[in-house]
Amino acid sequence: MSALGRVVRSGVGRRRVQTLVVALATLMAVASAVVAGSLMVASSAPFDHAFARQHGPHLIAQVDGAKASTGQLAATGHVPGVTASAGPYDTAVINAQDPNGMRMPELTVAGRATPGGALDDLTLDSGRWAAKPGEIVLPTGFPPEIFPLGSSLRIQGGPVLTVVGRAQSVSESADAWVTPGQISALRVAGAPVTVEMFYRFASAGTKARLTADRATLAAALPPGALLGTRSYLDTKLSADGESAPFVPFLMAFGVLGLVMSVIIVSSVVSGAVGASLRRIGILKAVGFTPGQVVRAYVAQALVPAGVGVVLGVVLGNLLALPLLSDAEQVYGSAGLSVAWWVDLAVPAVALGVVVIAALVPALRAGRLRTVEAIAIGRAPSTGRGQWAHRAVGRLPLPRAVTLGLASPFARPVRTAAMLAAVVFGTAAATFAVGLASSLNAVAAAQHPDAATPVIVLAGGLGPPAPGGPPPRISAADGARIRSAIQAQPGTESYYGTAFTQVTVPGLTGSIQAQLYQGDSRPGAYEMIAGHWFTGAGQAVVPTHFLDVTGTRVGDSVTVVDQGVSVRLRIVGEAFDPGADGMRLHTDVSSFASVKEGIPVDAYNVVLKPGVSAVDYIEKVNAVLRPLGAQAVPNQDSGGSLLVVLEAMAALLTLMLVAVAGLGVLNSVMLDTRERVHDLGVCKAIGMSPRQTVTMVLASVVGVGVAGGIIGVPVGVALHDYILPVMGHAAGTRLTPRIVSVYHALELVLLGLGGVAIAVLGATLPAGWAAKARTAAALRTE
């Protein structure tokens, strides 16, 4: 082994705690960065690739064909900022029936002669393109067992079409395609003549840019011609799926971890340099060059950091697996794994950071003059802590305590490093506690009907008659069920619900509308802005709906159900990320004009206080069964993603807190080792073991308190910053109940956590200090 190798090995071996601390800090940082990075790649890669391959448009515009001529549409391709355009393609909204005669969600059909094009270059996955009227190409995701190639699709009030192929538009420009000549036959009488145009722009990176682009387009068209637009960012958002909200959260932990490793590594290496100035002097005296000294000290950090990085990559990959498998389900693309370059880039960056953090103190060691190094070897520089001793010595506290309290000021740099470790540990714990509360609030907000322990199912219980529509609840049956619930002792209140699929002019595909009958306030979603609807004609929508439709609370929207337009005024923005963040809530009477009315098929029941749900269900079912209805307990299925997220937050926090504790341990240990002689003197003049422990612990309490006072607000600020970003990634704004989760008492306890981290980290060295043999310590003179 070379001389350098020996020095490094003995350095690593002698400083076991420091070695462990560096390894753990890098492990933690690398693991969370790998998870964050791989998830970010995995969640956006499939969409990004497909979007690039198909030359996806930045904006899909739905235009009223009656208001804009083909010439005017073609001219929009030359509007400044537009780099490419395609279209116009005629579109129609169809109501198809499945082979059982069940009504299916509305489909937007576009007329296209070929799958290819300058933009939205479709991928034909099977079969062939529609060549003549009477043929239709369905999307790849459509269940093939119901509609195999060659099967027929019946359109309500229209022709029967033969399925000839399957294609996919990553931009979701349409749900199905026919020949251009077929469209007019599919349009419901009275429906607007819509055409779609595709555009790419010179600048389209952000929502704000796209809004500006959209405004340019609207101005280039006749007034009112632009019915709606869909941006690729919205499409990407729903494609990136459930894992997108994880990314900012993991990034936060990754950054915390990285900053933590920088603090730990630089403090450990500068501590090692500071504590072995004499050794450095001797190394130089026996002929080490400055370069060799620098390398020796950088290597002492790199060896454990290397181990931490390798283990961190392994742990990161393991942690990423459950999240990636979730992402797989979203894309249906099997075998998503951590991108190989993430596994290379993260360790490379981490090692680079370690080298730089270690280099600064190592260079100091390299520059140190030999004589100086040997001369100043052990003597602690005097003077810096004197004023602190003067100030603290006056406090009416036991002397051992005041001696300890003053000691951090003698070593300001080391104290700062210790403080940083405690601040980060406390901030991480605060962040994680807040995150857990927020996630619980999210889970609660997603199931506002949790206040209704019983649900009465009123329809769709019997099998559908072959070939015919499913059985419907008659209005008379509905009234009988309602009076049965009303009459049942134990019923506090109840409201009915129904679901229907509606289209919004300008949007592709259909969205879900949830309709309420009666007093729906017990089941109301938490509001972000505005209020829950109070009557017919009012609607409450989630954030994403507002974003996609470009509307605001107070605006009106028109939705179409079975060809009937219903105009609704948006009175509130609710937190409802379910149903792709596009679910609309309104009173059932808003849809009274729809042909047959929409049947209320479920009732949520609020029970009187003290009434057991089980008893209630048993009793009410005796009355309901003859009516074809049934009461069941309302159980919501907890989100497994929330569980994963909470477990991961707990794990990452534990690691951060442990590393923070080890950082304190490291600092206090260096300090104790350096002051072993002073400790010997104190013991020789009668300091008891208990007083020694008290003194060492008191030396960190100040740091702990300061760390708590700084760390808690940092954690709260981080939480309050990250949460809306997570919400944004999930396409929703958040309610105050989700964001403002901290209680005063909780904050005080978390602040005390800083003290706990500091005291725990110092306990071990304090014990060593108390046990250190006095005679031996005094001999070191």
């Binding site: 602690p380 005097t382 003077g383 802590g385 004197q386 001793h389 003067r390 010595g393 036991p398 002397r399 051992a400 003053a406 000691s407 003698a410 002689h677 002073d678 010997g680 003197v681 104190c682 013991k683 020789a684 003049i685 009668g686 300091m687 008891s688 073991p689 208990r690 007083q691 108390a770 043999r773 006095t774 005679a775 005094l778 003179e781």
Partner: protein, 229 residues
């Protein structure tokens, strides 16, 4: 009360081989000033550490002021040290971050002496030892002789039964050394029991009422000076 220090077949060894000290048996009476002399490595410091309770004998007993200190636990030893003995070292061992007054006060504070009483005792000692002008100064700025007087003051603040000094003049020039010698003589005249380790025979002769000479851990001679106090 009898002996202040009683060693009975006291032995201290480090690892295998012949012990570094003893077995030794001798006693020290209250009011004696004992000088322990001998060549380097003869076991003088080892002996002092045993008497101070900083180290434990490998065999035999150490009794100081009626206490079997070889049997005491760490806590009791700390109490013993701060109440019954004071130590002075060759290299002063003052705490550089504390002022002269705070250094002297420290053992009194550790012992829980009331603040006013400790402060009075400190100024009294500083006056006696001629360092009252340096009360607010830091040890780093004092001369060696002054520092050693501060160390002596610190050793005496709790009125110990026994003052232990290991080469108190070893790091001082002739003049400062003479100062410290006068101080020790004065203390001895005042009735303070002193155990003084030195290989300065002149110092031993000047201020000790008795000299024990160690060679290889054994007493080579034990001589009581004719010069009475």
């Amino acid at each position: 009360m009898g002996n202040l220090i009683a060693l009975d077949r006291t032995t201290k060894g480090y690892g295998a081989g012949a012990p570094a000290l003893g077995p030794l048996t001798f006693t020290v009476e209250p009011g004696e000033a004992l000088a322990v002399t001998g060549p380097s490595g003869s076991g003088k410091s080892t002996l002092l550490n045993l008497v101070a309770g900083l180290d434990k004998p490998t065999a035999g007993t150490v009794t100081v002021d009626g206490l079997r200190i070889d049997q005491l636990g760490e806590h009791a030893l700390a109490r013993f040290r701060r109440e019954r003995i004071g130590m002075v070292f060759q290299f002063f061992n003052l705490l550089d971050d504390l002022t002269v007054a705070d250094n002297i006060l420290l053992p009194a504070q550790l012992a829980g002496m009331p603040r006013a009483k400790a402060a009075a005792r400190t100024s009294e000692l500083m006056e006696t030892l001629g360092i009252e002008d340096h009360a607010g100064a830091y040890p780093g700025r004092l001369s060696g002789g002054e520092r050693q007087r501060v160390a002596v003051a610190r050793a005496l603040v709790n009125r110990p039964a026994l003052l232990l000094a290991d080469e108190p003049t070893g790091a001082l020039d002739t003049t400062s050394g003479r100062d410290v010698r006068e101080l020790l003589i004065d203390l001895h005249r005042g009735g303070q029991t002193i155990v003084l380790v030195t290989h300065d025979l002149a110092l031993a002769e000047a201020c000790a009422s008795r000299t024990v000479h160690l060679v290889d851990g054994h007493v080579a001679f034990d001589q009581t000076a004719e010069v009475a106090r």
